[in-house]
Symmetry: C2
Subunit: 192 residues, 2 copies
């Protein structure tokens, strides 16, 4: 893998993407170095740039791939709370993608592939609240659900709830979270 007889690598794009995901998952996007990725793939220092143009280009490609994966993961989940679980599942399964997707400064916001993938995932998210009964403001409800899932996923990946969930499965724990919320066991302003 590191040595190669042919002049052309054959699948450099995929190799660089995979290596980048490893680095990001382990040390964050800031530790990403195009030259290091080139070394890992056994090519010259400028080879990756040919496929991604930029460091920003690489990160944008990762984000786009992430939105596609998210859309896939959400897939055809039957109802809203299950979509939340799927959202958490995605974050756990693809932490590097998740991290990059939500740091706009790292990305080329007007990239066509990114926009298309984002819209794709966005449609899946919206579908979750589309047929909800007796909800006055479906859009706000959707954002509430998104906030809950996104917040939990973020806190999970940043090691901020590891102590609380112990060795329980994150998805399962999130199910109990939604259970609490959806059955109104969180009191409001003094039981209003």
């Amino acid at each position: 893998m590191t040595s190669r007889s042919t002049y052309h690598h054959g699948d450099l794009r995929q190799a660089v993407l995979a290596a980048a995901l490893d680095v990001i998952a382990a040390e964050g996007p800031g530790a990403l170095s195009l030259r290091d990725l080139a070394r890992r793939a056994g090519v010259s220092h400028a080879a990756p740039a040919h496929h991604f143009k930029d460091r920003t280009g690489l990160l944008t490609a990762i984000a786009a791939q992430g939105y596609e994966l998210l859309a896939e993961t959400l897939g055809d989940a039957p109802e809203l709370s299950e979509r939340g679980v799927r959202y958490v599942r995605f974050a756990v399964a693809h932490p590097a993608h998740f991290q990059v997707m939500f740091q706009p400064e790292l990305l080329r916001a007007d990239d066509p592939d990114l926009l298309a993938a984002k819209e794709h995932a966005s449609a899946e998210l919206r579908a979750g609240v589309a047929g909800l009964p007796d909800v006055p403001d479906a859009r706000t409800a959707g954002i509430a659900a998104w906030s809950l899932a996104h917040g939990f996923a973020t806190l999970l990946l940043t090691q901020n709830v590891t102590a609380a969930i112990g060795d329980r499965d994150p998805e399962e724990y999130f199910r109990s979270l939604t259970g609490l919320v959806f059955t109104n066991q969180l009191p409001s302003r003094g039981g209003e």
Copy 2:
């Protein structure tokens, strides 16, 4: 400000911190350059290192300051939902701090100041769910509330809900979110 007669700057630490916050808020932590901060303060390129040791040291100092500011902002809020609003308020008022606080790879996790500040803020968060009536699992309820607030704050700062809230005040919008959640207007699994 850029020119200075004395050999000593006088307040370099604060100057660098302030400049760093500007840069981070505008272009993210990745755009941070110690040499650039030195230029802005009108000192030599290695001067900032004397106060923060590292790039990591600077970011750790920012995160610690952030947790102290968060603890202050949460302050003596009366009840849980109001603490959520305060949490969002903090994120909007101090976006640079917020961003850095939740990127562990950027920080020196064992820094004493950081740990102390984090514990300080954590205590404030816990206080919000301390005296909740008739909640079986207060810890889980706290994480649910934290997830909701944190998720909304993150989505807000990453421009993912700007379209939805329009020109409304983020805090006010979040209040309506918690309203939805706490009054159980989000249906569960088909009305179970």
